[in-house]
Symmetry: C2
Subunit: 162 residues, 2 copies
């Protein structure tokens, strides 16, 4: 067998098996790091109550599943919900917001993680501040431009406020 | 160039580019169908209140995120929770249970979907039946044997009971 022919066969053995497995680890580490960046941006936008910045992190097909609320389907409906909340409380300020996320799992352009959050909101109208703790399950999708966006979010209350 | 050499090059062009994209559609359809089967088995096991059958559908690393409850981490802890519930209500019977799931998304060995459920439980002790409606966000993982298992589950209440 000519040498160049053997080389071609070797190429098939290496490339033809599909290089995804070989590069999966480093690709996965990069994706995990990108999702950690997403989490920081999401927490920062929430802390500032910056609705435009929050919505820039949502996928167009996003769905939000909140307690005692019908499924909120699509970026436009989610944007309306958070705008309604800020309109109803024009002087509200997020005094404190922390979010810790765990177990980031990435598969291709999809990822999931779960988080715990704690928030303290002051209303600026003399009513006592609201303090809440919750858990979240998040599913993210990487768009054609390579940006990770929130596409499925569910929230429920934590055990209690400590 | 010898013909067999050209054939090898043609094979690289077809196989070497990685066949995943070519077969993604049919693979994805198969996976979606397997997850629909998972959903039917999960609903049937819940309807029978068959805890062993429910737990056979959970991943060892599963996590359940229920309202007003700390994260329940691991199959053993989840099994204990559902066994505690059935022990506390030994005569309970699931009179009705329906689950409808939407937007199954599959990426490699990971998948997600969201569901709505409705349940009516009779306790068999003279107390009135419980009727509840909720939403779920589920993340599934396909194990080495090719079986889809529930690995992340979150639940919260629907709008109201109708």
């Amino acid at each position: 067998m000519p040498t160049r022919f053997k080389n071609i066969l070797a190429s098939i053995a290496i490339v033809g098996v599909c290089p995804l497995a070989v590069f999966a680890d480093s690709g996965s580490a990069r994706a995990t790091s990108a999702i950690e960046t997403f989490n920081q941006e999401f927490a920062a936008a929430t802390r500032r109550m910056d609705n435009a910045a929050i919505m820039a992190l949502w996928d167009d097909k996003g769905i939000s599943l909140l307690p005692s609320t019908p499924p909120i389907v699509g970026k436009k409906a989610i944007a309306k919900l958070i705008d309604d909340v800020t309109t109803a409380h024009p002087n509200a300020r997020m005094k404190q917001f922390e979010m810790a996320c765990f177990d980031i799992e990435v598969a291709g352009d999809w990822a999931s993680e779960w988080c715990e959050e704690h928030q303290v909101v002051e209303f600026g109208d003399g009513t006592p501040p609201f303090e809440g703790r919750g858990k979240m399950l998040l599913v993210l999708h990487r768009n054609a431009a390579g940006k990770w966006l929130l596409t499925r979010e569910m929230w429920n209350q934590a055990t209690d406020v400590k």
